[in-house]
Amino acid sequence: MYQDVILDHYKHPHGRGLRDGDAEVHHVNPTCGDEITLRVRLDADTIADVSYEGQGCSISQASASVLNELLVGKELTEASKVQETFLELMQSKGKIEPDDAMEEILEDAVAFAGVSKYPARVKCALLSWMAWKDATAQALGEGTGRKTA
């Protein structure tokens, strides 16, 4: 589960820190206490920035870093596809062995495949992704999202 890629992201997070954004959310993983505050800035249909602050285990922190690396600069539709693929992988209970197609979409995020075997940790891995989804919906004016704090 502790792939080098994950530990790298944990030790050297991408794009950490809070910068200007169109929407901000704060999410908590209630069963473990991981937290994230995340902002999304959109430029028309493109994700101009995802900035965040948080604390928690290596999985939740590395996942936020991977998210930043993967999604910033992408069009929203494309980003949604990445998010859905990641969700699918994480909900697979270790049963999906990522193929090339998936690897192309998820890049570093395929390293999380092993995490999907541990239900308690899946929530850590998904925390920033759920926050991103909520913040984006909010930035697009689709309601305020579910804030868990």
């Binding site: 908590v28 209630p30 069963t31 473990c32 541990y118 239900p119 308690a120 940790r121 868990t148 704090a149």
Partner: protein, 400 residues
């Protein structure tokens, strides 16, 4: 003796219940007819319970170790099974309690502490019936005493059916909650859900159905019932004691306040205040009945494998036979419906003026386990007008 007419292979089913091998009182083989009080436990459930306690036991939700993952998967898996068994729109609507009594008290307490429009207070009314189990009377008496709300109830006709002739006077726009039993544990009557629910909806009242005696015996479909809450209990449906259930509509579970406070039902806690986890966890202060839920999951699998439609049809056939034959016994009087129509398999009777305590004891001497119940409160018309004060209740489960 001619075999009882039925549709199930009762000899095969008997073998699933180890207790039925027992011989009591000098070589009488046990005949267990006290299913209205609690059911016996099939081997399949016992094995699942034992495997859990012996191999997978752990607290749930919070651990980061193998056992915690396994226990959580088994516990939440049981919730999925129960949700499917009752056709719940969402698994998150299934709350594990300790028994049906707690489920009923939970709703009463929620409504006492709720905000408008659900709040029960001195300007509002609570409706129950005269044929409720004590566990569906006392919580409402307490709520009524504590809030000043008025407690009202439906009476019974001479045949032991609910008297709905004054439906509109009893359920009014002041009514906040109508709580009634689906199948009576005393008379065996199946109550007319639709008429009551329709009137309650018209009046804007919530409906709670006590399905404790229904869940083990018939298809229970919470969507078809159109109630807001349905309570029932594990130990009457082949599961262990100390697990009860409350199904509630999701919006309500979100809006209503919690009952027991504690670990896992919270999202964040500071010394000053807390926020609550979403349902069902909001209503499950740790540690929940983990082993018992696993047992219940296995019990639900067991019942489903036989098939609830088949169980229902089988019991109907037996009940038809039993009420007919019972009436051939001199001095035996059935309390409650004397035909199998809209009635479950619990049959109450009196035998001349022999006190039921004595009837029960004599049956026990023959190895036949029944229960007896004092019938004075709530008073039944059938009893009020006679010198009988109690009756023997026997309830035939599928495995009887």
């Amino acid at each position: 003796m001619t075999p009882l007419p039925g549709l199930l292979d009762t000899e095969a089913i008997r073998k699933d219940f180890p207790v039925l091998d027992r011989v009591v009182h000098d070589c009488k083989r046990l005949v267990y007819l006290d299913n209205a009080a609690t059911s016996q436990k099939p081997r399949q459930m016992l094995d699942a319970l034992n495997a859990y306690c012996e191999r997978h036991n752990s607290n749930v939700h919070r651990g980061v170790h193998v056992l915690a993952e396994e226990a959580t998967a088994l516990y939440e898996g049981a919730r999925d099974k129960v949700a499917a068994f009752i056709n719940a729109p969402s698994r998150d609507e299934v709350i594990f309690t300790k028994n049906a009594s707690e489920s009923l008290n939970l709703v009463a307490n929620m409504l006492g502490w709720a905000d408008e429009p659900y709040r029960v207070d001195h300007e509002t009314e609570i409706v129950i019936t005269e044929i409720e189990h004590h566990s569906n009377i006392v919580p409402w008496q307490l709520l009524s005493q504590r809030t000043g709300a008025k407690l009202k109830w439906f009476g019974l006709t001479d045949e032991g059916r609910l008297d709905l002739s004054n439906l509109e006077e009893i359920i009014t726009p002041k009514t906040k909650i109508v709580s009634f039993v689906l199948v009576s544990n005393i008379l065996g009557t199946v109550n007319p859900v639709e008429a009551i629910v329709r009137r309650a909806q018209e009046a804007g009242a919530l409906v709670l159905i006590d399905a404790s005696q229904a869940a083990p015996h018939m298809v229970l479909d919470v969507q078809a019932l159109q109630a807001d809450f349905v309570a029932f209990t594990g130990h009457k449906m082949c599961a262990p004691t100390s697990i009860g259930l409350l199904w509630g509509r999701q919006e309500l579970l979100e809006d209503l306040p919690p009952f027991l406070g504690g670990g896992e039902m919270i999202e964040t806690v500071s010394m000053h205040s807390s926020t609550y986890a979403p349902a069902p966890h909001k209503f499950e202060a740790v540690t929940p009945p983990i082993a018992q839920a696993v047992g219940l999951g296995a019990a639900v699998d067991y019942l489903s494998a036989i098939g609830m439609e088949r169980i229902e049809a089988h019991e109907h056939a037996i009940t038809e036979y039993a009420v007919r034959r019972f009436q051939e016994v001199p001095d035996l009087r059935i309390i409650g419906p004397t035909t199998a129509e809209d009635r479950g398999a619990a049959i109450s009777f009196t035998l001349g003026d022999i006190h039921p305590h004595d009837v029960g004891q004599v049956l026990d001497g023959q190895g036949i386990a029944v229960r007896w119940t004092p019938l004075r409160a709530p008073s039944l018309p059938a009893v009020r007008n006679s010198s009988d004060h109690a009756s023997v209740v026997l309830s035939v489960l599928h495995a009887g």
